[in-house]
């Protein structure tokens, strides 16, 4: 008996090389299969697909024709957007947006002073990138820049006037004084013994003089640079007072949202902690504040601020007409934020609290180091939700006569210079694009943050 080998059975077929791979059948891969799996996987889905296709086919071409193909892109007044003046069907009148674009950004802010707004915008953008972009260095300095230097600079630059200049002078003197103190401390660190304690002092003393206390020194240096630049600008160009009644457009929309966002988060954290506190008075006050604010519509708060308040408060002590809704919006957002954050706090298992306490951490250290970082991460979607709601609610200030971005568009819609049948559709489309971009940007960013922070839970 011989082995069944090729030599022994010459006519048997044995493959000597592998076949080239066949592409998968059309029913399981490729565009057709994708369509079948995703769009027509069953009778309900097929029906929905057809309905959606119908909606897209009936609306999109008209929208594209109106907003792009038939649109008018340049012109000086309404004649450019009138069908019988141009002799063709006219869609969106983008020329109107181009003509009023400056007004939509700055409102009635005096033209020679608009560079001040631009500087604040640039600082705001820098601060946002610094804080929100993962790879930027020196996050703590950025934090100081965004939450301390930016509000001060915005106040000095946007408002201006003698009061602001006096404030700037005081701040500069303060900065110089701090710089002098830390210069002395760099060489004679022993003087700081009383407030940093001997252990930290030993660390500082081991360093060469220019590196001692560098964390504080770089903040002082940054303040000095920013305030110094503003002082030089104030000196050369002057910062005459620009009344808040002249502010408008995107400036006001961003201002209201930024103030609301910046103040509502810390306030919300404090209120949420207060509501869960064991101290009865603090808990009671927090509950009363949160429930009261959540029980009134924002419009009521704004009316109270701008229509009723002037009746109780003497005219000379009455706060600024823009400041009142700013405070109202910030407090309003804080109450909602508090409930969102409380949700996060309740999701933290008791073991985390007990673990933190068993490490010997006090209340504030426990909250700051163990509880809040976890709680805030859980409620990022809720926080961003509140931010987006706040950003869109900022349009409500129009009812108390403040010219936010949407109001500036509406104000130009009545202007006969651009009164055409399509002006309104164009103006509101522009507003929609602006609000969509801002809100969408916020939500995309929050998703990115969530993914980054959830890295530890990924398997």
């Amino acid at each position: 008996m011989t082995d069944a080998t090729i030599e022994n059975a010459p006519y048997a077929f044995v493959r000597k090389e592998t076949l080239p791979q066949e592409s998968p059948p059309l029913s399981v891969a490729g565009p057709l299969a994708w369509i079948r799996a995703n769009l027509f996987s069953g009778p309900v889905n097929s029906l929905m697909t057809l309905v959606c296709v119908y909606i897209v086919v009936t609306s999109v071409p008209d929208l594209v024709r109106f907003y792009l193909i038939d649109a008018v892109w340049s012109g000086a007044n309404r004649d450019a957007c009138l069908a019988d003046k141009v002799g063709r069907p006219v869609g969106a009148c983008w020329a109107y947006i181009a003509d009023r674009f400056q007004y939509f950004i700055y409102g009635s802010y005096p033209i020679p002073q608009r560079w001040r707004v631009n500087i604040v915008f640039a600082m705001f953008a820098l601060g946002i990138v610094w804080l929100l972009w993962d790879r930027m260095p020196l996050k703590k300095v950025g934090f100081f820049f965004f939450f301390v230097l930016l509000p001060i600079s915005a106040y000095l630059l946007l408002l201006g006037g003698p009061a602001a200049e006096g404030f700037l002078r005081t701040l500069l003197i303060l900065t110089f004084a701090l710089m002098a103190i830390y210069l002395v401390l760099s060489f004679v660190p022993g003087l700081a013994r009383f407030w940093i304690g001997p252990a930290f002092l030993a660390v500082e003393e081991a360093l060469p003089p220019w590196k001692r206390f560098y964390r504080v020194k770089r903040l002082i240096l940054l303040s000095l640079v920013v305030l110094g630049v503003i002082a030089i600008l104030a000196d050369s160009a002057g910062l005459p007072r620009v009344d808040t009644g002249l502010w408008g457009g995107m400036v006001v929309t961003f201002l209201i949202s930024a103030v609301g966002i910046v103040f509502s988060l810390p306030l919300g954290v404090m209120l949420a902690l207060g509501r869960r506190s064991r101290l009865p008075i603090i808990q009671f006050l927090s509950v009363v504040f949160i429930e009261f604010v959540r029980g009134v519509p924002l419009i009521t708060v704004l009316f109270m601020a701008n229509t009723m308040l002037p009746l109780f408060v003497p005219q000379e002590y009455s706060p600024d007409r823009l400041l009142r809704p700013l405070v109202g919006v910030a407090l309003f957002a804080a109450a909602y934020m508090a409930e969102v954050i409380r949700g996060g706090l309740q999701a933290i298992p008791k073991g985390q609290y007990e673990g933190a306490m068993s490490l010997g951490l006090g209340y504030w250290s426990m909250m700051r180091l163990i509880i809040l970082p976890q709680a805030l991460r859980i409620v990022i979607p809720g926080i961003v939700n509140t931010f987006i709601g706040l950003f869109k609610d900022s349009t409500l200030v129009t009812i108390v006569g403040i010219f936010d971005f949407l109001r500036t568009i509406e104000a130009t819609l009545v202007d006969p210079t651009w009164a055409t049948p399509t002006t309104r559709a164009t103006g509101y489309a522009f507003a929609a694009v602006f609000y969509f971009l801002c809100c969408w940007g916020m939500s995309r960013y929050s998703i990115a943050v969530e993914q980054r922070l959830a890295a530890g839970q990924r398997r």
């Binding site: 309404r78 069908a83 019988d84 003509d99 009023r100 400056q102 007004y103 700055y106 409102g107 009635s108 802010y109 033209i111 009344d243 009644g245 002249l246 408008g248 009316f303 701008n306 229509t307 009723m308 002037p310 009746l311 005219q315 009455s318 007409r321 129009t398 009812i399 108390v400 006569g401 010219f403 109001r407 500036t408 509406e410 104000a411 130009t412 819609l413 009545v414 202007d415 006969p416 210079t417 009164a419 055409t420 049948p421 002006t423 309104r424």
Partner: protein, 341 residues
């Protein structure tokens, strides 16, 4: 003992008068002068009356009224802070002293005059409800609108006035009402109705939003009274007089032919009426707390009433509203000013 009481009573009386005097707030004019700027309650946007231009400067008939007051007080029409007010908070803002004068196309009515603690100073624009129709209908008067369908905004006095007018004139009509003014004008443009009705000043502004504005005409009939005018608080008659007389000065200037261009020559005019108006004779400006040449400043910076009207709502503007009721009394209109003397 008697003496003691007398002294006490006298002292008490003194104290009361003293406290009354200190409670008396400084006059509005003094406050405005001290603040060095006029706070003017203005509209948040109404074509021809108060609209921001591309640079963000307010323009319009009501706006120029405020500029005229500022020109009379400060010789600078830009010393005005416009505080845009919504329809809801306009009177509160005036009552609380947030604004010195409210020039915001407010209709002068008895209730407002009598019960809000404010007082209207006059009428700077006689408005009223009117009709717009297509030219090709061949209608020249509202009386010919029998059987017409009329587009109007729901739940406004406009709708009630319309019913009153057609009933009073025994005309048949059909109302097509919409929730917003925007929908209303769109429906009219699309041909859903024969006529469109709203306040006359608004008709001209809405007409510009039609696809072919020139195919439509505004009928001459005005079926309701909407006298629009500025108002002030009713506790300062000096300020009331000043605001009122700024308007009269502008009308008198128009009547006497004093314009922005010729005001300097007019100073040499021998006409006694012009001399009194421009302050070359008599010191009439001082009676309202200003200098004798107050009208010169108004006319130089803002112009007379006719100039302001034509520039903002009349032939010099896109609205092209006819003078009509707002013409001078000498030309068949209602604008009449008492003489300066």
């Amino acid at each position: 003992m008697k003496k003691f009481f007398a002294a006490a009573i006298a002292g008490l009386g003194l104290a009361v008068t003293a406290s009354a005097a200190s409670a008396q707030a400084p006059s509005t004019l003094a406050q405005v002068k001290q603040r060095n700027i006029l706070n003017c309650g203005s509209n948040t946007g109404l074509a021809g009356f108060g609209v921001p231009d591309a640079q963000g400067n307010w323009q319009g008939l009501d706006v120029e009224y405020c500029r005229a007051i500022a020109a009379a007080i400060f010789n600078d029409p830009n010393k005005v802070k416009f505080i845009p007010l919504s329809a809801k908070d306009r009177f509160t803002a005036l009552q609380s002293g947030e604004v010195d004068v409210l020039v915001r196309n407010s209709t002068w009515t008895m209730t407002r005059d009598a019960s809000l603690g404010i007082v209207f100073t006059g009428v700077n624009y006689y408005d009223g409800q009117g009709f717009m129709v297509r030219k090709k209908l061949g209608v020249t008067s509202a009386k010919q609108l029998s059987g017409a369908s009329v587009c109007t905004q729901q739940g406004t006095t406009t709708e009630l006035n319309l019913a009153d007018y057609f009933r009073a004139n025994n005309l048949k009509y059909e109302v097509v009402a919409f929730a917003s003014s925007d929908e209303t004008i769109k429906a009219y443009d699309a041909g859903r109705c024969d006529a469109f009705t709203t306040d006359a000043s608004g008709l001209y502004a809405e007409r510009l939003k039609l696809t072919a504005p020139d195919d439509h005409i505004v009928l001459p009939e005005i079926i309701s009274k909407e006298p629009l005018g500025p108002s002030v608080r009713n506790n300062d008659s000096g300020w009331f007089n000043l605001v009122k007389w700024v308007h009269y000065a502008m009308i008198n200037a128009e009547e006497l032919g004093v314009t922005k261009a010729n005001v300097d020559e007019m100073l040499k005019s021998p006409n006694p009426e012009i001399k009194r108006l421009l302050g070359t004779e008599g010191k009439f400006g001082e009676t309202i707390g200003l200098t004798p040449d107050w009208v010169v400043r108004i006319v130089k910076h803002v112009g007379n009433y006719g100039e302001s009207f034509e520039k903002n709502v009349g032939q010099g503007s896109l609205l092209k509203i006819a003078r009509g009721q707002n013409g001078l009394w000498t030309k068949g209109g209602l604008q009449y000013a008492p003489p300066v003397r």
